[in-house]
Symmetry: C2
Subunit: 395 residues, 2 copies
């Protein structure tokens, strides 16, 4: 089967407001994070299926005539056996491989399996709650569907970057959700939706509603690198609500109101001239929610440090995601000078944190012209990640 | 007129929970703070009325036959003129003098004015929101009423310390409130009630309800010495509520629930064996309320430092009173060792703060035997404050 070469990217996600409260039936706002995962799919002729995942040090190759014909594309159980784990937890590399094989076989399994090499690299740290697995699944779904011809290739000759139509995005999203199912078992669907549509999503009681228009906001994303367990943190919040119901219920209501107020402010920023007052409000909402998250017991001294260090530069931060360490976001104002940004990044790095200047609210999955690769980069590990063998020379 | 020599003391007050929220119709808990003001009243024979207030560097003496007969005890307006201010703000010394003269003339004005010397000194910093003026007014009311015979002298020969009966406390409190009226114009009545009854008071919508039984809790009281205006802070909270009503209203509800939960925990501590769980709950309530006060915008970096420094020693703190600087309280557990307490006090002093180890929930106004003076001390200024002339030799 002849397949189309494809280069795609999908963004990570951050929770702007409503983490934890969403577990208790409140609104959360998820936004695309312009640290992206990139996938390059190349048709090959050697009769091999190759997958290169440099971020997680995974480089695999299978003989299509030999190894892969043992597989029944419908049976995830047999895929698990193939990857080498019959039960228990898979490691990141095994899950990524399983997810790839599942989507590959689902898209191409009815015909002759095509010989191709897929390389994926990411600006996103893995396991930091930033939707890196969803960005991976979205890239895989988009690239495989596009390569197979199941969806169009929206890129015109004169474009560097293009997006799919709503209908095709729906298809990408549903397949990406399948990939997330394999990796996470029971995903909320928020991460792959953000990776697919980008911008901002309102998430309430399992319902995901993409917001029509949101401004692009400059931020710093900081990874405190303090490890934590989302499960433990979620149950800590639950315990606190059970212990002090009359105190904690209003806090969740207040977080709900923060999400709704933030949505309103962001919507105003797209319909009227943006003023300092809009940014003041966004900063205040950050501060209030950060205090509420501390009340819920999901703060951490490293996050306090992040808030203090950035506030010393006049910038406002909050944790994003599960808390208890992990990542925080810092809002940058349009007038925040690059000198201030650089000094803040340096201060945060001096605390032992990783820190990226990026944006939220940007586009979801995109197709790129091959030349785009020359401008993309991968900051993980400090350098651009080398692609394996022949990919390296072609880009 | 022959008057009785009297030595009395009254405690300061701290807000345990509900500061600011009380302005918006929520419950606040006020507690007695065992930093006390002491008043020594001595009958003299020289025909002079002397007042010594070493804490505020005020030492005055009037000739009873000359100067004071110009005064009409019913007219505060004329008292103001006498003190030298017809309108505008009085300074601390002027207000204390005015309040003293008002109470003195009210108690003794119907007969011959007695010759006496009143000396008042305090362990409380002034102007720190710790009820030092109320402790002063309560001491004045108790001592003058007792000296005049309007209330009993409850002290038996074998007691070091005694309290008045409920009815006489009511009288002391109502006169102390008059003194507070002169000093503050429109006081809430909470401070003089705490100074009179001690223990803990529930304060809601202008109604003050003394709680029947509360445990004595060890605390550190820290004065960050950051100056602030209560008026500015109260209006800052109001502005924030107006700006984000749906976010702030639940925060006030949560503070209300904190006060009620705290009251419940403290009541349990007097009716069942005290456990670590009781202290854990009190600590959690401190932490949650401190975050809420930050949400209201009345935090301050110095208060953050206080919380961080004490938490490093495993101790939990919150601001008390208006915030924006001012004072904070740190809960000490029964098992907190004196080494930890001393180290914490030193760390706080190293931050430039004043710090006292004391307790909350102790008794209100008390009469003391003269020998009690030997054991009392006044930490203000670091040394025991010297009393003026003949008082010094008699104590």
């Amino acid at each position: 089967m002849q397949v189309r070469d494809v280069l795609v990217s999908a963004p990570g996600k951050a929770i702007l407001h409503g983490e934890h409260a969403v577990v208790h039936g409140k609104v959360a706002l998820a936004v695309s994070l312009n640290l992206r995962s990139y996938l390059c799919l190349k048709a090959t002729t050697g009769g091999n299926l190759c997958v290169n995942l440099p971020n997680i040090d995974t480089f695999l190759s299978w003989d299509l005539r030999d190894e892969l014909k043992l597989l029944d594309p419908d049976l995830v159980r047999r895929l698990r056996e193939f990857v080498g784990v019959t039960n228990g937890n898979l490691n990141t590399s095994q899950m990524a491989t399983l997810s790839f094989l599942y989507l590959y076989l689902s898209v191409f399994g009815s015909g002759e399996l095509p010989s191709l090499t897929v390389s994926v690299w990411s600006e996103l740290p893995t396991g930091a709650g930033l939707g890196s697995s969803a960005a991976y699944s979205v890239c895989l779904a988009a690239a495989l569907l596009c390569a197979s011809g199941a969806i169009s290739s929206p890129l015109n000759d004169w474009d560097h970057t293009a997006r799919w139509c709503q209908e095709e995005l729906e298809l990408i999203n549903s397949w990406a959700f399948q990939g997330e199912m394999i990796i996470h078992g029971n995903p909320s669907g928020v991460d792959n939706a953000v990776g697919t549509w980008g911008g901002m999503l309102r998430f309430l009681a399992g319902k995901i509603i993409p917001l029509s228009r949101v401004p692009l906001l400059r931020i710093l994303l900081t990874n405190t690198k303090v490890p934590r367990s989302t499960k433990v943190l979620v149950s800590r919040v639950k315990d606190k609500i059970n212990k002090f119901p009359s105190i904690m219920a209003p806090v969740l209501d207040s977080v709900d109101a923060i999400s709704c107020t933030c949505e309103k402010v962001l919507s105003e920023m797209t319909s009227e001239p943006i003023t300092g007052e809009h940014y003041n409000a966004l900063e205040e909402l950050f501060d209030i929610n950060q205090h509420h998250l501390n009340v819920m017991g999901v703060g951490h001294p490293a996050l306090d440090t992040l808030c203090r260090v950035t506030l010393a530069k006049g910038l406002h931060s909050k944790l994003t995601g599960a808390g208890g360490g992990g990542c925080g976001i810092t809002l940058l104002r349009p007038e925040t000078s690059s000198a201030v940004v650089q000094a803040t990044v340096q201060d945060l790095k001096d605390c032992g944190f990783d820190c990226w200047e990026t944006s939220i609210g940007g586009p979801g999955v995109q197709q790129h012209a091959p030349c785009f690769l020359q401008f993309s980069f991968c900051p993980v590990g400090g350098d651009r990640v080398a692609l394996k063998d022949d990919e390296e020379s072609r880009v």
